[in-house]
């Protein structure tokens, strides 16, 4: 595409088909709060999810600080239980699930598709405000007694807890609709609004991943909604669904809950993989090896993700048949995950690799997700899982996937698309320093938790036996390194906003559609003319040097 559009100036009239994207529509506070522009909605999501990440991070630091020494360190047991619950609930429902699709997806997806906006711009804004309303309910719960059930809300604990479970559950229920609407919007957009020439085999892998995620969001989230509604009904009206005292079945709740929450694991990780694919392509200047397999493996994960929820319940007392079947099906997760890891590694082979900060995050993703995936084998194999279930081994495993995977990809994605989103460059050197702290801090915090867990330390413990103290001390120390790393990263981004150099249209020299033929930041309607796609997003061998080396201004001088 690109060639005839890039650098074309003088077309400042807005497109008549989208009056809401006119410059007049975008001014002032109202222009932001009532915007239908996917880019602004994406940025509002970015700010909200980063605030959620900050809050969830504060709770994580408090939890780690409490565990620094046995016995009481900084808070009582009741508050510790609230702190780890809020850490989990905020990180899962307010941060990770909306992070990549809501923030990066909203910003990048329509541009990658060569279109002016998502299919339903009003629905998109509605989805953002539903997110805000859901978040408000959750915050209301926090200030009115908070929640101490764990983010999993297991019954009958959650139906008998004295804390304000109902408002938190309603918050999560509402957040689910935001997730469904975003998913629906993206599915329709990918099907209906691709630019001329952008056929399915030319779709960027970020689109494939986001598309697979959207399918899970639309299909799985309603189950969570129903489950949480039943839970709220049981708490408020005494309806006997899950509580055995009322004739219900507590295991049923676990089935319902994980029927959503296991697919939700893929709502969280598949977008991370999608971002990683883009980063690998750009910074190796090479098409992703096995493009078709990588694209299909996202859909494969979406499918398999629906079939394995029972692996969270191997010790629960579900039938041995179910346990056997879920263990076997869980093994299948390794296939599409392995395909991705192998293909990314093969992409590096004979590439032209540049270790920018986003690429360092992509490589961290590769390393940490591989550890997260391989440790998943211990959890899928039945007899080892019986020993490891509900210990710190599990905590370490899913943090390697969720944080080592998704969060690394998210931060990498933010840094990668930052010049496009803000039109500003940032201090790469300092960003690399922050990456180093984050990477080392993450491994210090979580690698030792595998050992602590396999030694028998149960999770969600306020206090612990003396033999576990050394592991907890190291882990807490790691959390401080993470704090330093993310603080530097925040400083880098804020500094860039205030005084960053202006970004060129394509600072990384990427062949990706979103970098070719748009300005940084893109104009309201993204493109001054609807682009026609004539090549794939990773066809570096078809690009001219001019297209690729439109890099940092200092590079141009060389």
């Amino acid at each position: 595409m690109a060639t005839e559009v890039a650098g074309a100036h003088g077309h400042d009239e807005p497109d008549h088909l989208a009056p809401y994207l006119s410059p007049e529509a975008g001014r002032g506070v109202k222009g932001w709060l009532l915007t239908l522009d996917h880019k602004r909605i994406g940025l509002m999501y970015l700010i909200s999810t980063l605030l959620a990440f900050f809050m969830g991070g504060v709770f994580a630091l408090l939890v780690r600080l409490e565990l620094f020494a046995p016995g009481r360190t900084i808070m009582s047991a009741e508050y510790y239980n609230r702190a780890f619950t809020l850490h989990g609930a905020i990180m899962v429902f307010l941060f990770i699930i909306p992070s990549v699709p809501g923030a990066l997806g909203n910003f990048v997806l329509p541009i990658m598709l060569g279109t002016k906006d998502v299919a339903f711009p009003r629905l998109n804004l509605l989805s953002f405000y539903i997110y805000i309303i859901g978040a408000t309910f959750s915050l209301y719960s926090i200030v009115t007694g908070s929640v101490d059930t764990g983010w999993t809300f297991y019954t009958p604990y959650s139906t008998t807890s004295q804390t304000s479970v109902v408002s938190m559950v309603l918050g999560v229920f509402i957040l689910g609709f935001s997730s469904i609407l975003t998913g629906l919007n993206f599915i329709v957009t990918v099907h209906k609004l691709r630019a001329p020439g952008l056929h399915w085999k030319r779709l960027p892998l970020f689109i494939w991943g986001t598309y697979a995620t959207s399918i899970i969001q639309v299909l799985a989230t309603p189950v969570l909604a129903i489950t949480l509604l039943l839970l709220a009904a049981e708490r408020t009206m005494g309806l006997g669904i899950f509580d055995p005292a009322l004739g219900g079945d507590p295991i049923l709740f676990q089935h319902f809950f994980w029927f959503y929450s296991h697919p939700a694991v893929y709502i969280m990780i598949v977008p991370g993989m999608a971002v990683a694919s883009e980063l690998f392509a750009t910074f190796t200047r090479r098409a992703i090896f096995g493009y078709f397999a990588v694209a299909m493996s996202s859909l494969g994960l979406a499918l398999v993700g629906f079939l394995v929820w029972g692996h969270h319940m191997f010790t629960s007392g579900q039938s041995e048949w179910a346990t056997m079947l879920f263990s076997a099906l869980t093994m299948l997760v390794a296939i599409p995950s392995g395909v991705k890891v192998f293909n990314w590694t093969a992409t590096l082979y004979k590439g032209s690799i540049e270790l920018t900060t986003p690429m360092l995050y992509a490589l961290s993703f590769l390393v940490l997700f591989t550890i997260g995936g391989l440790t998943g084998l211990f959890c899928a194999v039945l007899n080892t899982d019986i020993h490891l279930h509900d210990t710190y081994f599990i905590v370490a495993h899913f943090h390697y996937v969720m944080m080592g995977g998704t969060v690394m990809a998210f931060v990498g994605g933010i840094l990668y698309w930052w010049p496009k989103m803000t039109g500003k460059l940032y201090d790469e050197k300092l960003a690399k320093v922050s990456w180093l702290f984050v990477f080392i801090g993450f491994n210090t915090t979580f690698l030792i938790q595998f050992v602590m867990g396999s030694k028998g330390m149960p999770r969600r413990y306020y206090d612990y036996l003396p033999q576990f103290e050394i592991y907890h001390k190291v882990s807490t120390f790691g959390s401080w390194l993470l704090l330093i790393g993310f603080s530097i990263c925040a400083f880098v981004l804020i500094k860039s906003l205030r005084s960053g150099a202006k970004a060129p249209p394509n600072p990384w020299g990427s062949a990706g559609y979103e970098w070719q033929g748009t300005e940084s930041p893109p104009v309201m309607q993204n493109f001054r003319e609807t682009p026609t796609i004539t090549r794939g997003p990773y066809d570096y061998h078809l690009c001219t040097d001019e297209e690729l080396f439109d890099g940092f201004p200092e590079d141009l001088k060389k």
């Binding site: 009481r72 047991a77 297991y154 263990s327 084998l377 396999s454 206090d463």
Partner: protein, 337 residues
């Protein structure tokens, strides 16, 4: 054998579990080093150099099919070893000795075939033991790392687990299903290994639902079984404890102290100080005297007469405490003037 990553192997299962663990572990190490080693090598070897372009990505269909299909063989093998081990853990031998386990916030009660109870799990060595678990309130989970076994205790539902210890000694037993915490701190016995920084008061909850498994020789175990039907020995006198002393021991061992103080302060439940003989106002508007029958009823049917200002959250001790133990508790409460 205790390794860097796993606790000592004290059950017949432990060897199998550890074999599977270390098989996956070394498999993972090999795969990790191969994949990440290759990736790091490529990052170094193919770093961007001026004038050198990336080679366009080609196709290697055979390679792709290989790494998509061949892991299936490894996965099938992993499933096989895990499943074999799991079935062994699930099917208890017919001659297994049965111990009934009742979990409640935040203590374990073990009931032995002779009707006696304890809070520490005593088992004979080299003999299959089958536990039948249930819970009185929320979900708990019984976990003995040295045995590599774990099973949830679910209210309204019996679940079972079994194991056979391979050596005598004492090891930890944990609750691994999150079950909350008591409000504030609770008084604990002096010399309790779990005493926190607050001196003889500590927080109680999911994390303190820890006890020990004491694995004994057949003779020691039989002595233990007899002892739980009689009052314990008073360390001060060296003789069988008086009912008052036994009551005090039960106050701690049955974890009455989680909710009832003896110093006059109200906790989750009313204090025991000065309780005996006092007039009580109940939540339903009636009143009565706290005499022996009232205390007995409060232990066996705790929610029949809830004192005003408190919630009816106490679990019943029917089936847990025998008559002479209830007598001992009443005798102890009478001493708390």
């Amino acid at each position: 054998m205790e390794t860097m990553q796993l606790p000592p192997q004290w059950s017949t299962f432990a060897g199998h579990v550890d074999w599977a663990f270390y098989f996956i572990y070394y498999l993972s190490v090999v795969l990790f080093v191969a994949i990440i080693g290759a990736a790091m090598y490529f990052v170094y070897k193919y770093r961007r150099k001026p004038g050198v372009k990336a080679e366009p990505t080609g196709h290697a269909t055979v390679l792709e099919i290989t790494w998509t299909v061949s892991p299936l063989a490894i996965l099938a093998f992993l499933f096989h070893i895990g499943f074999r081990g799991y079935i062994d853990m699930t099917v208890a031998p017919a001659d297994a000795m049965e111990i009934r386990v009742r979990a409640k916030k935040w203590s374990w009660d073990f009931e032995y075939p002779n009707g006696g109870h304890s809070n520490i799990l005593h088992i004979p060595v080299h003999r299959p033991v089958r536990l039948v678990l249930s819970s009185e309130d929320v979900i708990h989970s019984l976990y003995i790392p040295a045995f590599r076994v774990k099973r949830d205790a679910v209210p309204g539902f019996y679940s079972t687990m079994w194991f056979e210890a391979t050596q005598t000694g004492e090891t930890d037993l944990f609750c691994t299903e999150y079950c909350g915490a008591a409000v504030g701190t609770t008084e604990v016995a002096e010399g309790d290994p779990n005493v926190g920084r607050e001196g003889n008061r500590r927080h109680v909850g999911h994390f303190s639902m820890i006890t020990k498994v004491r694995i004994q020789t057949a003779a020691e175990y039989n002595t233990f079984l007899e002892s739980i039907l009689r009052p314990p020995t008073d360390p001060a006198t060296g003789r069988e404890a008086t009912p008052e002393k036994w009551g005090e021991i039960l106050y701690r061992s049955q974890q009455c102290n989680t909710c009832h103080s003896t110093d006059g302060s109200a906790m989750t439940g009313p204090t025991w100080r000065g309780l005996f003989g006092r007039q009580r106002q109940f939540a339903d508007g009636t009143s009565g005297t706290a005499d022996a029958n009232y205390i007995r009823q409060s232990i066996l049917q705790p929610n029949s007469k809830v004192v005003q200002g408190f919630n009816g959250v106490m679990p019943s001790f029917a089936g847990t405490l025998r008559d002479n133990q209830i007598d001992a508790l009443i005798a102890y409460i009478r001493t708390l003037r």
